[in-house]
């Protein structure tokens, strides 16, 4: 027995030493190693992996070690204050350059390096250039791709078997849900923490508000907003209708049973891919991912409008970006980003991800060479339907959190749509005081 303990102690000490060794920086090799982080999985993850592979193959002297992150919501919320601000943080990263993900705070705290000198301004549409230009005149992020949110993917086989067509109105959609349920399927599944309380309301806003109100509501939480912008409120009928529709989605049976307990996207996704649910809600950021199903064909449709005068059906999201941190390896990190934002780098990213790289130096023919027809169709729709920025890319974390919380309370019946409107208006008032 004492032998065992002594041996165990010996092993553990060895383990301890191994642990402390592991904590030391990697030994001096010939090549410089940069540390880069990205959200793993299809879309951005695959794209970054593809582009970095191309870089590493051509530059043995400057290697990028890519770390894939797995828990999207957790990483999104915690990385800026924790990982990026830490002394052992990465040199560069893929990120969401949006105020709701602490991008502005990182700039204010001096974490991010300006990328003006490597910025290929001419390669992006004017809107993208504007989005990335900060009040101080600098640009701290380089756009990687443009995605649109949100859509509903549907199982074409189930729809065909039941004689269903993509809906034109919300009542159509509720009827579809009823018929799908009657046939023994669940109607629409999505990750609750994200799809239900974030993307759904985001998509409903542009279907309920007029263009003027939409643009005002994206900005009038700010202390700097004008009185003209502030005449629009969350308590307006067009605003309350957003929450009313959310309530209907829950009460009229469109959302799957137990939808509020789906906090793992694997559950939502597996219900759709196994043919147990007829619809799955997400956006185009998965790239080609959702569209490749072995057992059935996948179609997509946009949510129906809920207000005739509403702004549009397709919103765009441009904040996906590469950023570099003010660290000793900054010059090397900038070299890598210069490649990633070049035409070659962007094409490597686009081919690996199947995402639309929103660039002026890549023509439609080149794009269609690697985009799935459905993604290309979405891209074309933007031209005709318009692409306002999304709520999520315009508001600070406090406001976005308030929306998620309020939407959750409407979906679960804690708040009435009217109360939800008041709660959001209160969140705006609070944000204006800061």
């Amino acid at each position: 027995m004492s032998g065992i303990i002594r041996r165990a102690a010996g092993y553990s000490l060895a383990a301890l030493m191994a642990a402390s060794l592991a904590a030391l920086p990697a030994g001096a090799a010939d090549a410089t190693h940069l540390r880069m982080t990205v959200l793993g999985g299809p879309g951005a993850g695959d794209g970054t992996v593809g582009a970095i592979k191309a870089w590493n193959a051509a530059h043995p002297e400057l290697q990028v070690d890519l770390e894939l992150q797995s828990d999207e919501l957790n990483w999104q919320a915690t990385a800026p204050t924790t990982m990026f601000a830490a002394s052992d943080g990465p040199d560069l990263s893929w990120w969401w350059c949006s105020p709701s993900f602490q991008y502005k705070d990182m700039i204010a705290a001096g974490l991010l390096a300006p990328l003006d000198d490597i910025y290929p301004t001419a390669s992006y549409p004017e809107g993208t250039n504007q989005y990335f230009t900060e009040p101080d005149g600098h640009k701290y992020g380089v756009n990687t791709d443009v995605v649109w949110t949100p859509y509903i993917y549907y199982n074409k086989k189930i729809f065909a078997d039941l004689g269903l067509e993509p809906p034109k109105t919300w009542d159509d959609l509720y009827n579809i849900a009823t018929k799908v349920r009657a046939a023994g399927y669940q109607p629409m599944v999505t990750l609750y923490d994200y799809g239900m309380v974030n993307h759904l309301p985001d998509g409903l806003m542009m279907r309920s508000w007029s263009k003027e109100q939409y643009m005002a509501m994206l900005h009038n939480w700010s202390p700097k907003s004008t009185d003209a912008e502030r005449q629009y409120k969350w308590t307006d009928p067009d605003s309350v209708r957003i929450f009313q529709t959310l309530k209907d989605i829950a009460t009229k049976g469109l959302a799957a049973d137990g939808f509020a307990g789906i906090i793992d996207d694997e559950v939502a996704k597996s219900m759709f891919t196994s043919g147990k649910a007829a619809m799955y809600q997400t956006g185009s950021w998965g790239g080609a991912g959702m569209l490749d199903q072995k057992q059935f064909d996948v179609g997509f449709f946009y949510y129906p409008p809920i207000n005739k005068e509403s702004y549009g059906s397709v919103g765009s999201w441009v904040p996906n970006c590469f950023i570099a941190f003010n660290r000793p390896n900054l010059d090397a990190a900038k070299k890598v980003i210069a490649f990633l934002s070049s035409r070659d780098g962007a094409l490597a990213y686009g081919k690996a991800s199947g995402l639309t790289i929103g660039r002026t130096d890549v023509d439609a023919a080149t794009l269609s060479g690697f985009l799935k027809p459905m993604v290309a169709q979405m891209a074309a729709d933007v031209g005709t339907m318009g692409a306002p920025p999304l709520f999520e890319s315009a508001v600070p974390p406090d406001v976005l959190n308030a929306l998620k919380r309020t939407a959750g309370q409407v979906l679960t019946g804690v708040l009435t749509p009217e109360q939800a409107g008041e709660a959001m208006q209160q969140a705006y008032e609070d944000a204006r005081k800061q």
Binding site: S12, A22, L66, E67, L68, S70, E72, W75, M83, K269
Partner: protein, 294 residues
């Protein structure tokens, strides 16, 4: 005690007692099923493909597929083999247990035997520390570890977990050493042993059982700790198994699901604990009892 003068049991009562016995047996068997089946389900599910898991949750895995295990060991989806998480967990758990038991045995012995100025205060400190909820420490530890370079560092986790386990373990060991016969120590003292010599050569070898109990009491929570791991380990190479479970969403929004792989990770996390229980069940139950009653 109630004094009961009834000695004869009527036939009605006998029937009631028989009924009660059957009911108790049925309830116990039901509870057995409820307790064991989920664990069986965990392993059967980990040996099935995703379509099977979703269409027939109760079916047995015939033939068993080890694809899920191979996939997580290969680690293609997360760029990281599950064995890395596994190794990290082993290092952190082994390191913590060794350090924790060493440090608390020293302190527990001093508190049991030493009558030095401040010994009462020190003992109060341990009692006080027992009442500190770990959540209060999370935010400062998070930033403090960043400054010390202990974030993403397994040594940092070992030091932290040791600290968290210290109060309880020290207090238990102190009460163990209080019941330790002094005569042996005194004999060794007369033979010329110093305090540490007595502790190292006489006390520790006899206390193997108690020290093993301490390892048993602590191994479970260290192996499964999530709260601090989630915030202090954000580099992929240093993460521990509970983090792999809490955050295994590798191909989010892809065409493939990974339910089976998640179950494989869960299986790999559970397996060492089950093995440990099968091998040392008597000692474990004894150790836990000692921990709770003392």
């Amino acid at each position: 005690m109630r004094s009961n003068s009834e000695t004869a049991i009527s036939p009605v009562e006998r029937r009631v007692q028989l009924g009660l016995k059957i009911l108790v047996t049925a309830l116990l068997l039901l509870w057995l099923l409820v307790q064991v089946y989920p664990i069986v389900f965990l392993f059967t599910t980990s040996l099935k493909s995703d379509p099977e898991i979703l269409s027939a949750p109760f079916s047995l895995p015939f033939p068993p597929q080890f694809d899920n295990y191979l996939a997580v060991i290969e680690g293609g989806r997360t760029n990281q083999s599950i064995l890395v998480y596994f190794t990290n967990s082993v290092i952190v758990t082994a390191g913590t247990l060794v350090l924790l038991i060493a440090v608390s045995a020293l302190a527990g012995y001093a508190l049991a035997r030493g009558k030095f100025p401040g010994s009462t205060a020190t003992q109060q400190l341990f009692l006080l520390a027992l009442a500190v909820p770990v959540h209060v420490l999370l935010i400062p530890i998070y930033f403090f570890f960043g400054q010390l370079g202990l974030r993403n560092n397994l040594l940092g986790m070992i030091l932290l977990y040791t600290t968290l386990g210290l109060p309880f373990t020290t207090i238990l060991l102190r009460s163990y050493f209080l019941s330790f016969p002094r005569e042996l120590e005194e004999a060794a003292r007369i033979d010329g042993c110093g305090r540490f010599g007595v502790f190292w050569r006489v006390v520790l070898p006899i206390s193997r059982g108690a020290l093993a109990s301490m390892a048993i009491i602590n191994i479970g929570w260290v192996w499964s700790e999530l709260f601090f791991g989630l915030t202090l380990l954000d580099r992929t190479g240093v993460r521990t198994l509970p983090l792999a479970i809490a955050a295994y969403k590798p191909a989010s929004m892809a065409q493939q699901t990974a339910v089976g792989e998640l179950f494989a990770i869960m299986g790999l996390t559970v397996l060492p604990m089950l093995l440990f229980y099968f091998l040392f069940q008597k000692q474990i139950r004894k150790g836990m009892t000692a921990g709770a009653i003392k």
